[in-house]
């Protein structure tokens, strides 16, 4: 809004030397555009605000009476205000803002997810390209991908003998399957026409991967990555509840053990918002990169 207002100023100044009539016309045009912008913002923002208010109200009514099992919004606000207002405070090694905890969890997710993205895309490309690799590996993948994230944790703890690599491994093993399987499907669906072009040009394996396979399968790959990042975020919270240490998952477990229910509510909101942002980030990156591919 401030930019639009500034624009009005400069344009008015520039045309002020001319007659007053066009200036007025310009002003009305700018105000009209401003009004339009305001309206479209309002249309996007007001409905979710209304439903949020309604939700809070129902919550307040349901748990506002004395003796309720869960805290109402007013109690969450009064008891966990510091957590809501300042995400980045440090009052000691175990008393830090939720922003820091989320960042610690995100760090694990980024390491685990990056690993699964690279390994998943490469293995997916192999499985999609080779009929024998698919016949041999696909049944195994189909079985392994149904194993819940936390079921891997004991094995990971036994293998790594440390909680941090175990948590990263759980993220890796959870998020690799959608990446791998989607990449394989994308590679299998490369049109024969593109393969013919590559053959006539005698592209080698590396050139084929970068010039034909990756761009052609990119929409599938990004679908897989988007599901994968969602699963990573799901599993990190669960894994951290068990492994302990710093992290948003352990914070919830810790809060539960010391009966700080309002803190848990705030943490849930943090987790939801971060998960949403992660999903949007990967989706945005995908649509940026696959701009040309989807058409035609």
């Amino acid at each position: 809004m401030s930019i639009a207002a500034m624009k009005t100023d400069t344009t008015t100044a520039a045309t002020a030397v001319a007659s007053a009539k066009p200036v007025k016309a310009l002003q009305t045009r700018v105000t009209a555009r401003l009004g339009l912008m305001l309206r479209s913002t309002a249309v996007a923002v007001i409905p979710p605000l209304i439903s949020l208010a309604a939700l809070l109200m129902i919550w307040q009514i349901a748990f506002g009476r004395p003796g309720a099992t869960l805290p109402p919004p007013t109690q969450v606000w009064s008891e966990a205000k510091d957590l809501i207002l300042d995400p980045f405070f440090i009052n000691g090694s175990q008393d830090i803002g939720l922003g820091w905890r989320v960042l610690t969890s995100l760090q694990r997710v980024i390491v685990g997810f990056s690993l699964s993205a690279v390994v998943g895309v490469v293995m997916g490309a192999v499985v999609g390209q080779s009929v024998w690799a698919m016949r041999g590996l696909d049944p195994i993948f189909q079985i392994l991908r149904t194993v819940p994230p936390l079921a891997w944790l004991p094995i990971a703890l036994a293998a790594f003998r440390d909680s941090n690599p175990s948590a990263i491994f759980v993220i890796f093993i959870t998020s690799i399957w959608p990446v791998l399987i989607n990449t394989a499907v994308g590679v299998r669906n490369i049109p024969q026409d593109y393969r013919n072009v590559a053959q006539v040009l005698r592209l080698n394996q590396v050139e084929f991967f970068f010039k034909i396979m990756a761009p052609s399968a990119a929409p599938y790959i990004f679908t897989g990555l988007r599901i994968g990042i969602g699963l990573s975020w799901l599993s990190i919270v669960a894994a951290e509840m068990l492994t302990g240490g710093v992290g948003i998952g352990f914070f919830i477990w810790d809060a539960w053990n010391s009966s700080r229910l309002p803190d848990i509510v705030v943490a849930l909101v943090y987790i939801g918002v971060v998960g949403f942002v992660l999903d949007r980030l990967v989706a945005g990156l995908g649509s940026l990169i696959t701009r040309g591919t989807a058409a035609n």
Binding site: P191, D193, Y194, V200, R202, K211, S216, A295
Partner: protein, 264 residues
């Protein structure tokens, strides 16, 4: 004189499980340098299979394809293909589609500037340099096919293979592109083999028309030499007796002697 391209007793059998189907049988054909050959026949007669065999995209069952007396059995840029559905890569611009081919074929031979000039030269040939920064989705079907031709020509092929290149286009666009192909051929004197199911197109463009019998086990039924002088102009040919005679010969072959029974 040895032929430029020789198809020597080619058979092609497709095998799916225990079922074998012989698609092509005993194909023999010699093509000279600079000749334009059309292959015409009813659908399902194996025309496209024959073109894929020459391109090396499909392997012969027996016999051989000889280009300048050397057997070819794998695809390569010296036998560039213009595909029926253009096959441009949708994530690349017109320029990048052609440059992919040019950089691969001439990467070690030409400098960057020479390659750029060569790409633009080929886009000029098909009158598409104005759309160099557009993506395939942003240009019409005829334009896409032009770019497909430019990409194939840019490989400087010994033989240009065209697989029903104008089949998906409307009649007016098709006529424009046929004229372009004739112009290009007049300038480059390149060898072309074109699959078509359009009798007028075959007569207008080619030096010889190869007529295929119906499958299974299709083979070359007749080869008609079109003795019309070049350059040819479609308007002047409309009433030309030699043109009409050639047209009649092809039509008679297709609809009298080798009627396609299954076509209802």
């Amino acid at each position: 004189m040895a032929a430029y391209l020789k198809l020597d007793h080619i058979d092609k059998t497709f095998r799916r499980g225990a079922v074998e189907s012989e698609v092509l049988k005993d194909i023999n054909l010699s093509i000279d340098k600079g000749e334009v050959i059309s292959i015409i026949g009813h659908s399902g007669c194996g025309k496209s299979t024959l073109l894929n065999l020459i391109a090396g995209l499909t392997q012969v069952t027996s016999g051989g394809v000889l280009l300048e007396d050397r057997e070819v059995n794998a695809p390569g840029p010296e036998r560039a293909v213009v595909f029926q559905n253009h096959s441009l890569l949708p994530w690349l611009t017109v320029y990048e589609n052609v440059s992919l081919a040019v950089n691969k074929v001439f990467g070690g031979v030409k400098t960057r500037a020479e390659r750029h000039a060569w790409i633009m030269h080929n886009l000029d040939l098909v009158q598409m340099s104005h759309a160099r920064d557009k993506r395939p989705a942003e240009i019409s079907g005829g334009m896409k096919q032009r770019v497909g031709i430019a990409r194939a020509l840019a490989m400087e092929p010994k033989i240009l293979l065209l697989d029903e290149p104008f089949g998906a286009l409307d009649a007016l666009t098709r006529a424009h592109l046929q004229d372009s192909v004739m112009q290009i051929h007049a300038g480059l004197k390149n060898t072309m083999i074109m699959i078509t199911h359009d009798v007028d197109e075959a007569v207008l463009l080619s030096d010889r028309i190869v007529m295929m019998t119906n499958g299974p086990s299709a083979t070359i039924g007749e080869v008609l030499t079109v003795a019309l002088p070049r350059p040819r102009h479609r308007l002047e040919l409309v009433a030309d007796p030699a043109y009409l005679a050639a047209r009649e010969a092809v039509l008679k072959f297709l609809y009298e002697r080798h009627r396609f029974v299954e076509a209802a």
